[in-house]
């Protein structure tokens, strides 16, 4: 309330000073006019000379004091001219129509010129105010560019608006961070007013309260609010609001860029650490395996010793494969794998994987069905083979004992679809995405076969770096099928002319 009273007091004072100056200035103008009349009477000047002198004084009053003062002075001038100079003199009577006409023309011209001069004066004042406000806006834009974007922009912008525009109060609300920064007294609760400005999208200038409310927008979406207490051109308030919005936007882009860079850096660090660890693991692993397999090879061990040596050997192999896979997935995730892209005949790729895996399939017969021998793709052979190998390995581990594993390849639109099917090993709906996450293993099957939970995550990453996709469907009756889809390159089949 104090603030409200303060605001009204100032307005009253201004109005009072304007009221006081009007009669004072008018009186001064009338006095000046009296002096001019007295001088003219002493010098015996005639109507033709006095008329322009009166005219000139009215213009001067209009230029310096304003239109209404000039109007008062012009009325007095008409009376003086009528009384002292238009015959019959020393009387307000006018002898003929010419005299009336002269008076009317004089008064009309005086009013017109006064009006024009006053308007000119007011325009000049406006232009000056505009120039000053342009200067301040320029200063604001220059200094917003120098803001520290590592810190929240609200308090910094608040300080700038306060300093540059010398306003009574400023409040900036950031709806994203849900913070409000307030400086100076507001007639109402600034926090509530700022929030309602943003949520109800109110852009308003309250002349009675000397308050401007502006919504801060990014495109069309409201992102905050700006309240300015004090006399400010509405256009200037609009410009300040735009500048604050732009700075908010810059802060957000900078923050997300910084975050992305930090994430990339930490991923790189993780990969470097993993890389180093993986290599550091290889040496002790090699020594352990040399020792364990050496013991077995030397023979002459008691059955229990041989069993223990075999256990050490197996676990060293498992640890090694985990280390290698972990390293591979970390590199794929960090985008550090340089793809050795080449044309690959799908039939050859599948045959090669099948040949390599043939010893590890146990009692599962392998069937291969390829719809078109000329199916081909462009990609990194090693990575694509790793995907199919992983699918086959999974099938061999989890399928119903004795059931067959089917690998098929076919063309689907412009893509090549490779599928590995097996009976059994139902994967629950909620696990079908998650099994491609690193270290995730289905609770039902995790004890069924040894595994690390890394293989399928490698398959997913390897497919992604080829702009491909992997997924699984699983059904009690139909069994489980893993799919890989990648872009086909049938047009570039291998030139068999050299055969």
């Amino acid at each position: 309330m104090m603030a409200l009273a303060g605001g009204l007091n100032r307005k009253e004072t201004e109005r009072l000073s304007a009221l006081l100056s009007f009669p004072a200035k008018s009186a001064m103008g009338i006095l000046g006019l009296g002096a001019l009349t007295a001088g003219a009477l002493l010098l015996h000047l005639n109507l033709a000379t006095v008329g322009p002198l009166y005219f000139l004084s009215i213009v001067l009053v209009a230029l310096h004091w304003g239109f209404w003062q000039a109007t008062v002075v012009s009325a007095v001038a008409v009376l003086c001219e009528c009384y002292f100079f238009i015959p019959p003199v020393y009387s307000f009577d006018v002898a003929d129509e010419q005299g009336y006409l002269a008076l009317i023309v004089f008064e009309f011209s005086a009013l017109l010129v006064s009006r024009l001069s006053a308007r000119e004066q007011s325009n000049a004042r406006d232009a000056d105010a505009q120039r000053r406000s342009m200067g301040m806006l320029y200063e604001l834009s220059r200094r917003t560019l120098q803001l520290d974007l590592h810190q929240p922009p609200g308090p910094q912008l608040l300080r700038l608006v306060k300093e540059i525009f010398a306003v009574d109060a400023v409040a900036i609300f950031d709806s994203d961070l849900d913070t409000i920064d307030v400086f100076g007294p507001f007639p109402l609760d600034a926090n509530e007013m700022a929030r309602s400005t943003c949520y109800f999208e109110v852009n308003q200038d309250h002349d009675d309260l000397d308050l401007s409310r502006r919504v801060l927008r990014l495109g069309t979406a409201p992102i905050g609010a700006l309240l300015i207490g004090g006399r400010l051109n509405p256009l200037t308030a609009d410009a300040i609001a735009s500048m604050v919005s732009i700075t908010f936007d810059r802060y957000r882009s900078f923050a997300s860029e910084t975050k992305a860079a930090a994430a990339h850096q930490s991923e790189q660090l993780r990969t470097t650490v993993l890389d180093g660890l993986a290599h550091a693991f290889k040496t002790p692993l090699t020594a352990i395996r040399t020792a364990s397999s050496g013991l077995i090879e030397l023979g002459d061990l008691k059955p229990a010793h041989a069993d223990l040596a075999a256990l050490i050997d197996e676990q060293a192999v498992l640890l090694n494969s985990m280390t290698s896979r972990l390293l591979q997935t970390a590199r794929l995730e960090a985008g550090q794998v340089s793809l050795k892209k080449q044309m690959i005949a799908i039939a050859d790729l599948i045959e090669e994987v099948a040949a390599e895996q043939s010893g590890k399939l146990g009692d599962h017969p392998l069937q291969i069905s390829i719809s078109d021998k000329s199916l081909a793709t462009r990609g990194d052979r090693e990575l694509l083979a790793a995907i199919v190998t992983q699918f086959v390995d999974n099938a061999a581990k989890y399928s119903t004992p004795g059931s067959s594993i089917k690998i098929s390849a076919q063309e689907s639109a412009s893509e090549v679809l490779i599928a590995v099917h097996n009976k059994g090993s139902l994967i629950r709906q909620q696990d079908r995405e998650r099994i491609f996450e690193r270290f995730y293993r289905c609770p039902e099957t995790r004890h069924q076969a040894p595994g690390t939970g890394i293989g399928l995550s490698i398959a997913k990453k390897a497919a992604e770096v080829h702009n491909g996709h992997v997924w699984v469907i699983s059904d009690e009756q139909e069994g489980t099928t893993f799919f890989l889809s990648i872009l086909g390159s049938k047009g570039e089949v291998i030139d068999r002319a050299h055969l």
Binding site: E297, E352, A355
Partner: protein, 232 residues
């Protein structure tokens, strides 16, 4: 069974690996010597006689590949078996090009290492075959001068390029031959890198000489490195 006493040079910068290898080799009746760096290995090779070298690739100093190249320059018939880590396929190929006879990936099983080592030593001790001699491996017989291949006594029809490839591989039986070397041999420099040609040819040859081309017995794939014809 009497095992001939071979003398093996172990070159690795990691003491724990040298120790493991030394104990195992000695236990198996081999003699061994050790070097922690390539330079040391070179001076040992110059002063003593070895039957084979086990050479780590990743070592400080001149490194494994350069050591391999220099040993090969001085001792053309000394078997060199390279030991490398899993993810350095390029390093393996480089070592094979520098004259290594075979490679084995860390961590390896001693059983596999012994098999490779014995095969390499045996090959080195065999008298050098004449270019035109008939090569017989399993039930495959190759007659270079007649350009004829027999499988269990039955002639196999091969195109001229298929024949050249098979002969090259059979001449180097038991040893991995990198893709690039095969491509260069059969098509000359211009086709290096066109691996798909080679895969197509190998699959064609397999269909003609293997009983089950999907599970080859003779013409084996050395993943990411090349091909190997199985040993006699």
């Amino acid at each position: 069974m009497t095992v001939p006493t071979y003398k093996i040079l172990i070159v690795d910068d990691e003491a724990s690996i040298r120790r493991g290898l030394r104990s195992t080799l000695n236990g198996l009746g081999f003699e061994s010597a050790e070097a922690a760096r390539g330079e040391e290995a070179l001076s040992l090779v110059r002063t003593s006689r070895f039957d084979a070298v086990l050479l780590d690739l990743n070592m400080p100093g001149i490194g494994g590949v350069e050591t391999c190249r220099r040993i090969r320059r001085n001792s053309p018939r000394l078997p060199i078996l390279v030991i490398s880590v899993t993810d350095s396929e390029d390093g393996k190929v480089e070592a094979l090009d520098a004259g290594a006879d075979d490679y084995i990936t860390k961590p390896f099983s001693v059983k596999e290492l012994m098999a490779r080592l014995r095969a390499a030593v045996r090959r080195a001790q065999m008298p050098e075959e004449k270019q035109d001699a008939v090569i017989t491996i399993g039930d495959i017989e190759l007659h270079p001068t007649r350009r004829l291949v027999l499988k269990s006594g039955q002639p196999v029809h091969l195109t001229p390029k298929q024949f050249d490839l098979l002969r090259f591989l059979m001449c180097h039986s038991g040893r991995p031959v990198p893709h690039e070397r095969l491509l260069k041999f059969v098509w000359g420099n211009e086709y290096q890198g066109e691996l798909e040609y080679l895969r197509t040819f190998m699959s064609q040859i397999r269909k003609k000489i293997e009983d089950d081309p999907a599970n080859p017995k003779y013409l084996l794939t050395d993943a990411y490195v090349g091909y190997r014809f199985c040993e006699a």
